[in-house]
Symmetry: none
Subunit: 133 residues, 4 copies
């Protein structure tokens, strides 16, 4: 199963609404099950450096089927996935990337959000993920 | 002047509607005046290779403030911009990229469409460009 | 708002003067609000490796609208933006990159300086930033 | 012998003056004898895609100690340097890049200009080259 554009746009809409409620400016990216870009939106005046971060967080989450921040715990000095960020053209392993599941629990893609603190980024990505039916 | 997300989303919506009317599947990318991604959408089952093409067409159109296909005329063997595609990380110089102007005629970004013949790609990008107010 | 070449050249001139006073040799880069290069100067015999560092510091500062060294504090092991340097084609997150603001406080670009210790790099970039009217 | 920053800045100043006389908007890059960037200037509203073109033209001219357009003649289909543009991270082989010589005829760097037709680009680069003493 793969995410549809309609699902991806619903996730972006929900993420944008959450960002407005939180008064933050976000970049939001959605990739499909094949780690290919489906949809993207940058809110006006959001950080330009977060275009790439949002995309990489989404990819990272789907590459390993876990939240991007979980991988960052494993990539610390002395940990088992030390410097895994060097793979796949560059991973981003702090929070803000979340796998997307359909109503059967199958992973159909991933969302990445970037534009504020990692807690805020994660909250916005979570709002987007929760909008997938 | 720079394109807003609202304008970019209006352009993508118009481009998608045009693609549906034409019965083609498109990737559509919008960059701002600084050549940074603003919005993107890939229609279900559209070519995966066209994700990158749509983005590069949009960038190419803004890099030189002309339609991407115009640059392709100049880059032919013996012509004045021979092999310009090697610049800027890789240009795409066939049709489907169009500068976006506001109602004062100022360039505020660009749109790129990819997923079918270049004539179809151009028609879809044009529909998106015409939706900008 | 976007930086003009005249403003960029004034910043480079001020940065070079500061560098001469400090008896250091600098590379100085200026990017605009869209993170595109506007002006650059390398003082005679300045480090060749600092050409790229100056450019990346300027880009990093504009990507996130903060001084490059602030991002480096966030990217340490265990911190929230661990390994952010892998994004955007490679960030430089130690001091020497500073956002440039106009007299209304709007960010219009960024400056990056590299060629000595990070304290010296930062002081030279600051002198350039302060020359913007 | 290597170009000084003072010489590079004189070349950029002369190139900008020529561009203003011709009513064109240029990006101008200067590299040294080691093919490393020395100075750069983008005139307000000049093509963003020409940042990279100006730099690559300058590099191409110094890589082979000839005007960039001469190499483009050799890279045409069936010619001896067919597709040489694939080397060195991407060459630009149409006019606008010129080696810079000191008053002894020694090559000390190169200049690249981009922003208009190749004839205009070449004329602006030539004005810059002629300013070197």
């Amino acid at each position: 199963m793969n995410i549809s554009l309609e699902q991806a746009e619903a996730a972006i809409t929900a993420a944008k609404e959450k960002a407005k409620q939180m008064n933050v400016l976000m970049n939001i990216a959605i990739v499909d099950a094949g780690v290919n870009l489906v949809a993207f939106a940058r809110m006006d005046n959001a950080w330009l450096g977060s275009i790439d971060l949002a995309l990489r967080k989404a990819k990272t989450a789907r590459y390993f089927n876990m939240e991007s921040g979980e991988i960052g715990k494993l990539s610390q000095p002395g940990s088992q996935a030390w410097q895994i960020e060097h793979s796949n053209g560059g991973l981003i392993t702090f929070p803000g990337g979340i796998p997307l599941k359909n109503n059967k629990g199958e992973i159909i893609g991933a969302i990445g959000a970037s534009g504020s603190t990692v807690d805020n980024d994660h909250a916005v990505a979570r709002a987007g993920a929760d909008a997938i039916k």
